[in-house]
């Protein structure tokens, strides 16, 4: 799951300035779940852009815009609509926009901003979050990650800012260390809060240089790709 939210309309109209016709592409994956680029938002965007004087050559959603083979196969029957547009407005996350831009020979505009979820990367996300830090500390903290549960990502215990067990940043948010304390107490592991945690090795948090160019497990061979013409 990747969370996205629609950009302000003035930003989108700014990207489309000077263009007369647009093809709108939504995503029935995470963007539909986020309420930023599903069928309902695509229909709404079509109406809004028409109201603003744009010609819409086509407007569809595809199951997962991050899947390039799927994007190409679904767009092939609509080649005329795509070709007839000055650009494509892609209503999904940053991955989807990049996947469409890599698949189609057409200017692609992002209609959404991808929101940082602070580590909520599970298939079925609950409140548990993981920053993928490469140096797991959960043994010391009762199975609650201090990097994600504490707004300052403190690893050696709480700052002085909490009030009534809530974070100073937001009275609705639990102090992560308050949760860690309660969990450790429940498990008879309170001695763990006295362990000195040395500075983290943030180099372990960076993707490897190989992954920075492309994910090692990407499902396609990059150099064999063809674009929809």
């Amino acid at each position: 799951m990747i969370v996205s939210r629609q950009k302000p309309l003035e930003d989108i109209l700014g990207y489309l300035e000077g263009e007369k016709s647009v093809f709108i592409l939504g995503c029935s994956g995470c963007a539909e779940a986020s309420g930023s680029g599903g069928p309902a938002q695509v229909a709404e965007m079509k109406q809004t852009l028409e109201d603003n004087g744009k010609k819409i050559t086509g407007a569809i959603t595809i199951d997962f815009l991050c899947q390039k083979a799927l994007v190409k196969s679904r767009l092939r029957p609509r080649t005329a609509q795509v070709e007839g547009a000055d650009s494509i407005l892609v209503m999904t996350c940053g991955l989807g926009v990049q996947a469409v831009a890599a698949s189609v020979n057409k200017v692609c505009h992002p209609a959404c901003d991808t929101v940082n979820m602070g580590g909520s990367r599970a298939e079925w996300s609950g409140v548990e979050r993981c920053m993928e830090c490469g140096e797991c500390l959960l043994d010391y903290t009762g199975g609650i990650c201090p990097l994600t549960a504490c707004t300052k990502s403190l690893t050696n215990g709480a700052c002085g800012g909490a009030a009534n067990g809530k974070c100073e940043l937001d009275p609705a948010r639990d102090c992560g260390w308050e949760l860690i304390y309660r969990r450790l107490k429940e498990k008879g592991q309170l001695d763990k809060i006295k362990v000195f945690i040395p500075p983290k090795d943030y180099a372990k948090m960076m993707p490897s240089p190989k992954m920075m160019s492309t994910a090692l497990w990407a499902l396609e061979q990059f150099d064999q790709e063809e674009k929809v013409e």
């Binding site: 300052k152 403190l154 709480a158 009534n164 102090c175 308050e178 304390y181 309660r182 000195f196 500075p199």
Partner: protein
Amino acid sequence: MSLRSAVESGKFAITTEVGPLKGTDITEIEEVAGLLHGRVDAANVTDQQSSVMRLGSMAVCHLLKEKGLDPVFQVTCRDRNRLALQSDLLSAHVLGIENVLALTGDLPSLGDHPQAKPVYDLDSVQLLWAISRLNEGLDIAGNELHGKTGFFAGAVVTPEADTEAKLELQLAKMEKKISVGARFFQTQAVYDVDAFAKFMKRVDGLGAPILAGIIPLKSVGMARFMNKNVSGVFVPEDLIDRMAKAEDKAATGLQIAAGLIRDLKGLCQGVHIMAIGWEKKVPAILDAAGL
């Protein structure tokens, strides 16, 4: 007398705080430095307190040093990664700054540049550990220094808490801070002497000198604001009443502060007066407290 010699000699240590302004005007700092000279053992210089961008702590520490005051260089982990923190500590040493107070630092989102990227590469405990390493002639990556630092490092603790977790976490963190090199503590503002006495009993035996925080009350509104918004500060109702009934609020606020100092004198090893705009009144508070 320097802070180190005051604390190590067992004298009741007196420190205060200077908060640099936003901008380059140092007139008031120089004036305050003159008034405090000879009255306090050291003066902390805050590091962009409340995450509001201001003149830097290191430069002001240097100015205080030139004026004959012993500065305490407050360093937060909010704005600098481990390279910048260590480098600034080396720079501070070269400028003759001997004391450092290690803090985590307020969140930038609470200050006047909420768009800033929070750093927190190290936390306050790890920063104290880093200072100890620099004092030993090593950086935290284990590389040898050409010339080591000689800092007297301190830390903060909040004696009062509204939950069990908060208190126990504070105490555990305090122990950790001592184990990695904290040699003195300055506390959040204290208004309830009995509650503070209980805290002192809990930390009895840890061996680190504690300087109790004093913030003179200026008004009823200020007391209520702190109770509502400043974590770890609890101004008892009887003090708020006294302020409400007072004709001269400023004089009463100073008297309350002086009274607290007298009451705390038998309980801890010193006081840290955070006057927040009333720096020029610190000598009057000390006079009233008989110090």
